[in-house]
């Protein structure tokens, strides 16, 4: 059983997925933050692969990617981070999130092989809809990586099978029609979509975009199997990038978010 499937099986409550950008604000401090996330309450970690032109991301995650790139982030460095993380943690799944071009240049097959070796569990590639993903999908499958697909408020019923077909790990429901860090997710309008999607799949459903506070986490955990928090964590990193206790500040925020799940 994959680490992602095992995690959902073991948890008796919805999972907290936390997003950070690899190498933000620099490699060393990003590594410290990454290592501390599980103890702070992250059940699954989504690690962003920096890209110059992230067209589905709002200003907060755009800036994080540029900070990381300015500090020298590369695809290889991102994989090295995962490898180092895995030396001390064998249970918390890591999902890499990013855009298609850096993978294409690395080589889809080679990337999936190296990622699996480093201890990556799944991939979320924002600009690869089912119509264009066959190549990467088969590379991921061959190397035992889950290929996580996105569903959105604009995905109509008749399209759901196209999207969930060949998906694995979990499904990522984008809760707002927009970019990361934008509008607040509204639980009442999300619920019917999630119920509709469940008719087509047994995979766990994570809800992400526009989830900022412990209260948001609590409300959406009633609907989904996992809740993703990204921009608000990245924002804390941005605001405290010069602080000596950056890791402790992030730890405190993530602990607060995770209390939304148990409290």
């Amino acid at each position: 059983m994959s680490r992602i499937a095992q995690t959902f099986k073991n948890l008796k409550r919805p999972a907290l997925i936390t997003f950070i950008t690899a190498g933000d604000p620099d490699a060393a401090r990003s590594m410290e933050i990454l290592k501390s996330l599980p103890a702070a309450g992250a059940d699954i970690i989504e690690l962003g692969m920096p890209f110059t032109d992230p067209m589905a991301d709002g200003p907060v995650i755009q800036a994080a990617g540029l900070r990381a790139l300015d500090a020298g982030a590369t695809m290889q460095q991102t994989l090295k981070m995962v490898q180092q993380f895995r030396e001390g943690n064998k249970t918390t799944p890591i999902v890499l999130m990013g855009y298609a071009n850096p993978l294409l240049q690395y080589g889809n097959d080679k990337f999936c092989a190296d990622a699996a070796k480093a201890g990556v569990d799944g991939l979320i590639i924002v600009d690869l809809p089912p119509e264009e993903s066959a190549d990467l999908e088969s590379a991921a499958k061959k190397n035992g990586l889950d290929f996580i697909r996105l569903l959105t408020p604009t995905t109509r019923d008749e399209r759901i099978p196209t999207v969930v077909n060949n998906a694995s790990g979990f499904l990522y429901y984008v809760s707002v029609t927009g970019i990361t860090g934008a509008a607040k997710a509204n639980p009442d309008s999300i619920r019917p979509h999630i119920e509709q999607i469940r008719k087509h799949t047994k995979l766990p459903i994570a809800i992400g975009f526009g989830i900022k506070t412990p209260e948001d986490v609590k409300a959406l955990a009633k609907i989904g199997d996992a809740v993703v928090v990204g921009s608000s964590i990245v924002n804390i990193i941005a605001r405290n990038q010069d602080a000596k206790d950056l890791q402790a500040i992030v730890y405190k925020q993530v602990s607060g978010l995770s209390r939304g799940l148990v409290g």
Partner: protein, 405 residues
């Protein structure tokens, strides 16, 4: 579109692929909308009434057909091939961009969309978009790099006069690529009522093919005009390339005429051997950005690099996917011209012909100057004069050290 089995005109396939290029690399939020644009376009392009309206506006509003002009002074000066200009700079709004703006706004209206967004580099596509939005009474927002807003002030003012909102983009290199990122982000957030009026033969399918089909009016007119004028097809066609819309419109009707040599001129900036140019084919490699697979300027890690050109309209690190395919197929020859060469050509054309060209076609003219003298006198060469240079006088004056403001 074409019944010849091996015609280059048959591309793209039904998924929008030109060989390995093109496609639809967009976030899932956009996918349903992209599919509905494709469906609407497939219906519209087979509807005679749609084309009737397009043709009427092309004639009475844009002023088509644009003249085919024999550039006698240039021909004499260069001493070789007979040089003609296809004068799309005489169109309403001063460039070829209006052709695909009329087409796309007719489609947006047909789809019931009530808001238009567009990206712009030099501001020509922004002005053309603002123009058709004024005509059709649809509100529009134009995304433009902060750096371009600075160097294209007259066009920014024009857009505002026409009632458009101009939104500056400060991320990345603050030019065309970033304006396109922002437009895509806006579109993701406003899918329900917004139509993205893309300014070149780029973006997700069906845009590259659709914009090309609207711009093909240039090449189709040229075929007829040349037949009337010289009783035969031209020998060489030359056009500048940023995203590649004017070149695609000129070339497409000639793709299967293998005797007609096609030359695309990329912006060489400080030189393609430096890191400051915008020649995606000469200096880039295949990648994925802005909804398509095509050639892009990028580093080994797949990070997109900033383009540089004196011409804001060519300052884009990518190129339309059909050009990438024609480059691999070697059907079109792609060359580059530097900022300095374009600047010289800008002045030479003004003096020789009394036509102030935009900096974009100045690149094409610079290449014409390089090759025409070596060609025989019965060789017919046509250059697309795709825009007029009024918008560029401030940039050029600054480069020449002349104070005019």
């Amino acid at each position: 579109m074409n019944s010849q089995p091996n015609s280059l005109k048959n591309a793209p396939d039904e998924k929008g692929h030109f060989g390995p290029y093109g496609g639809r690399y967009v976030a899932e939020t956009l996918m349903p909308l992209i599919l509905s644009v494709e469906k609407a376009w497939n219906e519209a392009k087979n509807d005679a009434a749609f084309w009737q309206e397009f043709n009427n506006l092309a004639k009475d509003y844009i002023g088509r057909p644009s003249p085919l002009y024999f550039a006698a002074e240039t021909t004499r000066h260069l001493g070789g091939a007979k040089v003609y200009f296809k004068r799309d700079e005489l169109n309403h709004t001063g460039a070829h961009k209006i052709n695909h703006c009329i087409g796309q706004i007719l489609l947006a209206r047909r789809m019931g969309k009530t808001r238009i967004i567009a990206e712009t580099g030099a501001g020509q596509h922004g002005v053309a978009t603002a123009t058709v939005c004024a005509l059709f009474k649809i509100p529009c927002t134009i995304f433009m790099g902060a750096k371009d807003i600075e160097r294209q002030a007259p066009n920014v003012f024009r857009m505002k006069l026409l009632g458009a909102e101009v939104r500056p983009c400060t991320s990345g290199s603050a030019s065309l690529k970033d304006a396109m990122n922002e437009a895509l982000r806006d579109w993701v957030s406003n899918v329900h009522d917004t139509f993205y009026l893309i300014g070149t033969v780029a973006g997700p399918h069906p845009y590259p093919a659709m914009v090309r089909d609207f711009q093909s009016v240039i090449g189709k007119e040229l075929r007829e005009q040349m037949q009337e004028r010289e009783g035969r097809l031209p020998d060489t066609l030359v056009a500048c390339i940023g995203g590649g819309s004017n070149a695609m419109g000129l070339f497409h009707p000639f793709l299967d005429d293998t005797d007609v040599k096609l030359i695309g001129v990329e912006a060489g900036g400080y030189g393609v051997d430096t890191d400051k140019h915008a020649a995606s084919l000469t200096g880039g490699k295949p990648g994925i950005l802005h909804g398509m697979k095509s050639y892009f300027l990028q580093n080994d890690d797949g990070q997109i690099q900033e383009a540089h050109s004196i011409s804001a309209g060519l300052d884009y690190p990518g190129i339309g996917p059909e050009h990438s395919w024609l480059f691999d197929q070697k059907r079109v020859e792609y060359v580059s011209v530097t900022d300095a060469e374009a600047l010289d050509a800008f002045q030479l054309c003004s003096r020789l012909e009394g036509i102030i060209p935009a900096l974009e076609p100045s690149h094409a003219f610079a290449h014409v100057c390089k090759i025409a003298g070596r060609l025989p006198k019965d060789h017919i060469l046509v250059m697309n004069m795709c825009g007029r240079g009024d918008k560029d006088i401030f940039t050029v004056a600054e480069k020449l050290g002349v104070k005019i403001q």
